[in-house]
Symmetry: C2
Amino acid sequence: MTVPILKNYVQGKWFEGRGGLVDIASAVTGETVAKTSSAGVDFKGVLDYARHVGGPALRKLTFHERAYILKDLAKAITDKKEDLYKLSTETGATRKDGWIDIEGGAGTLYSMSSKGRRELPDDVILIDGAPETISREGTFVGQHVYTSRHGVAVLIDAFNFPVWGMLEKLSTALLAGMPAIVKPATQTAYLTEAAVRIMIETGRLPEGALQLVVGSVGDLFDHLIGQDVVSFTGSASTALKLKSHPRVLSEGVRFIAEQDSLNASILGPDAGPDTPEFDLFIKEVVREMTVKAGQKCTAIRRAFVPAALMDAAEAALKARLSKITIGDPALEDARMGALVSAAQCKDVREKIRELAGEARIVHGDIEDVEVIGARAKKDAFISPVLLRCDDPWGAKKVHEVEAFGPVSTLMPYRDLDDAIALADRGEGSLVMSVFTYDGDIARQVVLGAGAFHGRIIVINRDCAKESTGHGSPLPVLVHGGPGRAGGGEELGGVRGVKHYMQRTALQGSPDVISKIVRSWTRGAKTDAGAPHPFRLKFGELELGKTIETAPRTITLEDIEHFAHFTGDTFYAHMDEAAAKANPFFPGRVAHGYLILSFAAGLFVDPAPGPVLANYGLDDLRFLTPVSPGDSIKVRLTAKSKKKRNDDYGEVRWDVSVTNQKGEPVASYDLLTMNAI
Amino acid sequence: MTVPILKNYVQGKWFEGRGGLVDIASAVTGETVAKTSSAGVDFKGVLDYARHVGGPALRKLTFHERAYILKDLAKAITDKKEDLYKLSTETGATRKDGWIDIEGGAGTLYSMSSKGRRELPDDVILIDGAPETISREGTFVGQHVYTSRHGVAVLIDAFNFPVWGMLEKLSTALLAGMPAIVKPATQTAYLTEAAVRIMIETGRLPEGALQLVVGSVGDLFDHLIGQDVVSFTGSASTALKLKSHPRVLSEGVRFIAEQDSLNASILGPDAGPDTPEFDLFIKEVVREMTVKAGQKCTAIRRAFVPAALMDAAEAALKARLSKITIGDPALEDARMGALVSAAQCKDVREKIRELAGEARIVHGDIEDVEVIGARAKKDAFISPVLLRCDDPWGAKKVHEVEAFGPVSTLMPYRDLDDAIALADRGEGSLVMSVFTYDGDIARQVVLGAGAFHGRIIVINRDCAKESTGHGSPLPVLVHGGPGRAGGGEELGGVRGVKHYMQRTALQGSPDVISKIVRSWTRGAKTDAGAPHPFRLKFGELELGKTIETAPRTITLEDIEHFAHFTGDTFYAHMDEAAAKANPFFPGRVAHGYLILSFAAGLFVDPAPGPVLANYGLDDLRFLTPVSPGDSIKVRLTAKSKKKRNDDYGEVRWDVSVTNQKGEPVASYDLLTMNAI
């Protein structure tokens, strides 16, 4: 069989490296499965292409248009997933491991697409927060926004998740409107290349939005600028090298690092051997040791249990670990596959030897391993190794040295504060887990350890069935961690998108701010002329279109009537003396809901028309009480619009109810669904 | 007169440097006004003190308690402002310059204090966004939070705003619960020291929360850890040196840099010499050149005008500049004071000579200056210098070299795209301004230049009177910028606080999450027993306390009655055939406000009690239409609480209205004010 040569996808075409080919070996058989090189790639040209072709094309699309592209990419990967699973086996991954990578990757695209459509506007500017009051008269206002950075997202991935690792970064970069250059780890680049090929072949990506470099990045870093973002996943040493690059430092290139860390798991002091939490803890530690053969930057490296439970925990872990079969990941019987390469396996063995200076191996064998499947060569396989360290404060390496394989160290703690302090000795990690049924213990952990961990998962009997587990980053939650974990942050829905954008504070008149952000701001011009705004279809309705109603007087009879009709006979509406004694009211006042209802009666236009439904209301505040005899009137102004589908779209209206003195009575956003 | 020796405030006491004293000269007279040294300071001890004494003390306080401390610090500075003004004169600052620094500094404390009380909880954990759905059945939920970092905030300030520069950083760090070490620039350290002394003397700061180093930071950087934050304002070269420190890189220390930048101002293509915007532009450029003698990192360094208006703009600028009197800042007649030192003045002259290779000086004289006031020695004074460069694309230094004094360069542009591209040639700046009356032009500028600028201010006739100006960072708006400006971000209200905190994604059962964040989450346990929750005072009410009401059937008569009473005769409520034709309704349905009103009737407890008022409602969504004959019932649960003052506090209730089939009809947060 001919060994395929991987190609770079640069400047709009597939490009085979000019010499310097590197062999990539199968983790299972040791045979060469692909060759790769990026020699001859014009890296400055690649950056320029992204900046001058891909960036402008992506920035012309709205968030929603970009989100629909992500959905189509996800579909394409899902459709061809079996091709990817086949390649995945060669990386040492079982079907279950591959599922995390391949379907987890597609799922991330789907999730970000959905978030993009639901939480981002159908525009290119993202509004950040409410307008800020910065002047007395309101003629000068502040508004924060995010716009797409004008550079390139350089996405450097680790070997362990060649599909997911790319897509978790790519989904947010593309949604943010930034073109990307993907650089996979060489060991598993063939799987990334196949996934990129599937995405390019959809034809849905704008020219220049996605490029692929399979091999060294050459002098790419020498041409980075302040608008670029480097998002890196991998070892701390490589991260340090890259973020120390003179160009990264001098240009202020945004650098997002996600590094391996010494993640901890704590069995709560309340979780004795007879509790469900004890069993859940044992299962989770073993799962995290063996899934992906422990090659996960989120795996549990340090397992802490109450000192009295050390033996019980050790016994339970060993019992469970002994059931792990290891071998050719293509076989259904193999619970754990291979490490990515013989070199990686050798490195893991060396790291275990380092740890064994402070801890003793209580399960597993670093010299030999029993492997099932005829294809499997032993070089990249290793058995799960559990270490036990009884003096975690005297030890140092167990908190610093990561064996990136199926390896974990069991350690005792004295009390909860001690457990927290030990977890924090990892000096920053991606995730920690706590097994407790006690919410107060969980809070104490978050207060003591939150600053050291990007994610904290609390597992107990109530959530175990639905828990996604210690080691699984989710698209809607941030992934990353401080200190040793790199200090970066990815995903987290829209939070992850913002890393590829620039926040800017805008200042100006309400009119100008409204025009810029396409959202009417209080103080900006309104158009209160005919027709009634409810007569205008979604597409015809301009922001600022307003109705100012006639006034309506609210009588004591109205209040009494409303009270008896609705059953809301709260004393502030019914009892003059009691109402007067209330610190907020001058006497009996109208119900807030009566004001809302009368306001609707004032502005509504009853006949069928483009307004289909009132589907909600936001930020309602009652500002001045309404006494019997007061009259109210309403100003309702089209504030912003968001197309939902080809039939209708959401319209947000700014509503202000005032009394006969012009004082504000109520203020809110009204939400309607309007026909296109 | 004895020259005072500045003291460090470290490890809980005032400490005079052991030798190595450096003289600080008055900018006005050149005489020594103070001596300073940090020799002998134990920097590792200073860091440890902050970490082990200051940090824990601050983290025990809630955001509100910290906010009240800021308010008291602001008051103390305001009370002693005249002492500070006196010192400020010696830095070369006029009264107006000093106002920005001293009262602007106190104002920043006041503003952050107010933001902290209004926008942060009375707790130590800050909730970030709504809970995330991560399971089908809802037994496992996600929630992002921020907690205080466990390290030290090292605040390194520039010489130009010795009070404000410290306080804009300190206010956010303290509010976030991080202890701070302040390191002012030596030239003006005497003013910072005086301000620190005032704050320490209030006795309001917890031990270890604030330390001061007047002099070199010695080996402090060698002891930084991943939990620390360095926030730096100053030159790009010093920033580069500090952020390249091996310890900063290896530990992942968060580094916030705010550097000088080549800020641009654009006179819009619509703003001819006869427009108000033209005059506003001229005024603003001159103001930015002369306030603080141009020693502001936000000053306008590059002024762009339509090519045809070059001569008009030059003439107008020169006319205005010629009115600037220069001299002893203690004199009321002096419109502009001195640069901070003779050395700074020499540097500015050199930079102007560099610029003059590409541009010509059209106003000012770098060799000589006319100075008023007998005290004033000429060494640190310079006249405003306007340069003109007619080939901004051919030039390079005008976009790169900053003369940190009263210096600006006037340049032409061809069209708006050209102006934007020229502004972006600064490669990242803190602020740009645009003078236009056209909102579409403003939007185009934000789309083209937003990614390059931390703040964009659009000034025109509508907002000029209330505009705070091109060069003024505001506490509620972010301050910082990408690329050359350092890539950092400060202030922006709560945004600035988050830089000193760590975001963590929490996962767990709704019960556990509710306990951790002290906010009841859907799916968590409720207590629906007696008494009615409205019978409980603020302090007695526990989160999760619930009332589940009896059902009420909504009849067609109710709907008709409500319609005629309120005037809301929208066809969906009144006309069966028309309602059926609507894509959302099965036929005539109840008004949303009828549902809300009936819901209140169901849950309200009418007699006087702890609930004082319903002051609002958030996130209301109508989920399933209610047809005549349907019945609704309500679950209302105490979700979170926030004390407002000693008399009452806000309670947020989670409300769910369901129909007879258990389907969700409406969902919202109800807000009440409850007596303590």
